[in-house]
Symmetry: C2
Subunit: 209 residues, 2 copies
DNA sequence: CATGTTATCTAAGCACCGTCCAGATTGGAC
DNA sequence: GTCCAATCTGGACGGTGCTTAGATAACATG
């Protein structure tokens, strides 16, 4: 007695169409709406309108789904950083700009940023791709661009690590909203970020200016 | 038929004696033996030889138990840092020493360090006590000791934040064991840590030397 | 010493979680 | 049209955090 006519117009026409895509989207929606604590596999399946076991045909386990979400986070960070680099006037401004952009990304996407690093913490490793062509490379390239010619590869790598550590540390501290009075004193969060990065003075050694 | 004589010699003589203490100890034991993922309330109760509901008479919920564990972590970090400061020869060495000690603490107690910051992440705030008399103060005092006289309070606070961020960031990166080749190149992890801190160069502005 | 109060602990149960399995459904290849 | 393989569902298992009701035992009071 169920219609055999045009079931194609239903909201779920296919088996599900592209469920892995839908699951990752659902996860990101939950993440923004309710935060990382509410991100259970079952909640994601519910949000996608599918049974709790369905995700297992597309992801080995919950961790692998979260990795897919984290991966999109890293790519979003990539584009944010490269936009920031492109819009900066000179090499020096590019350095500050990329650092501030990194921290702003973490501030504006706190749940996503947390998933990105939680995945890494569980695996005891940052994503390989990030080191080979992603955000980490952009930091290294930016440092390299404004470095003096005699800087060795080791120094360049150390500077990149130092910058990355400082950025990540600052990003986490920002989420612990305890510097607010200081921020006001300095005239807003952006000014605060720039001030901290200045105090890191991490690039003095390489600065062409 | 159970003996009414000398039940006092049993391993559990009292109701439980000091269960909150026993629970925190059990939690730390599990943490070292099996890592943060295995740290469930029920596992802690099991390890302490007590029913799953017993902890609720001593802690409001699981988070509060973890906070107690984290608190002990912060205190342990406090003593490690002050020992490090006390054993350093001059002010400059004290700066490097406290930074390296911080990262070493995180490396040597990875599970505990993670619980410490996971608690903070859940509460969106670092522990108050840390800012008022704990590790954070030690960093600020150490910077203050070697600073030039004209340095303002704001600059001192910014430098402390910068140092803390760099230390925490480095501590997390170290746990992602991806700098190992570089470490070997530089002759071991300690040399690596010192090199990174040098590249941060964060105290150039204040350095008396 | 008997009594009652209070803190502590247990047993059982709730809703939820991640995960697996048997079976139903479906799209596409032959 | 038939079969196959991929996909999805319903149901189950053990685990989790947490609550409630009731047992137990230390302690203060008479």
């Amino acid at each position: 007695m169920r219609p055999m006519t045009i079931p194609a117009t239903e909201s779920r026409p296919y088996h599900h169409g592209d469920l892995s895509r839908a699951l990752v989207d659902a996860a990101r929606r939950i993440l923004e709406r309710e935060g990382p604590a509410a991100l259970s596999l079952r909640a994601v399946a519910r949000e996608a309108g599918v049974s709790p076991a369905a995700p297992y045909h597309h992801f080995k386990d919950k961790g692998q789904l979260l990795e897919a979400v984290a991966h999109e986070g890293w790519m979003a960070l990539d584009t944010a950083l490269s936009q920031s680099r492109a819009s900066a006037r000179d090499a020096r401004e590019r350095m500050t700009s990329i650092g501030v952009t990194y921290v702003q990304f973490a501030r504006d996407n706190p749940a996503l940023y947390r998933v990105m690093y939680d995945c890494s913490r569980d695996k005891d490793a940052l994503p390989e791709q990030m080191k080979e062509e992603g955000a980490y490379c952009q930091v290294r390239d930016t440092i390299s661009e404004q470095s003096l010619d005699g800087v060795s590869d080791i120094d360049l790598e150390l500077a990149t690590i130092a910058a990355w550590c400082a950025g990540h540390g600052l990003a986490e501290m920002i989420s612990f909203k305890q510097f607010d009075p200081l921020k006001e004193l300095l005239g807003g969060e952006d000014a605060f970020l720039r001030a901290v990065f200045e105090h890191l003075g991490m690039f003095a050694k390489y600065d062409r200016g």
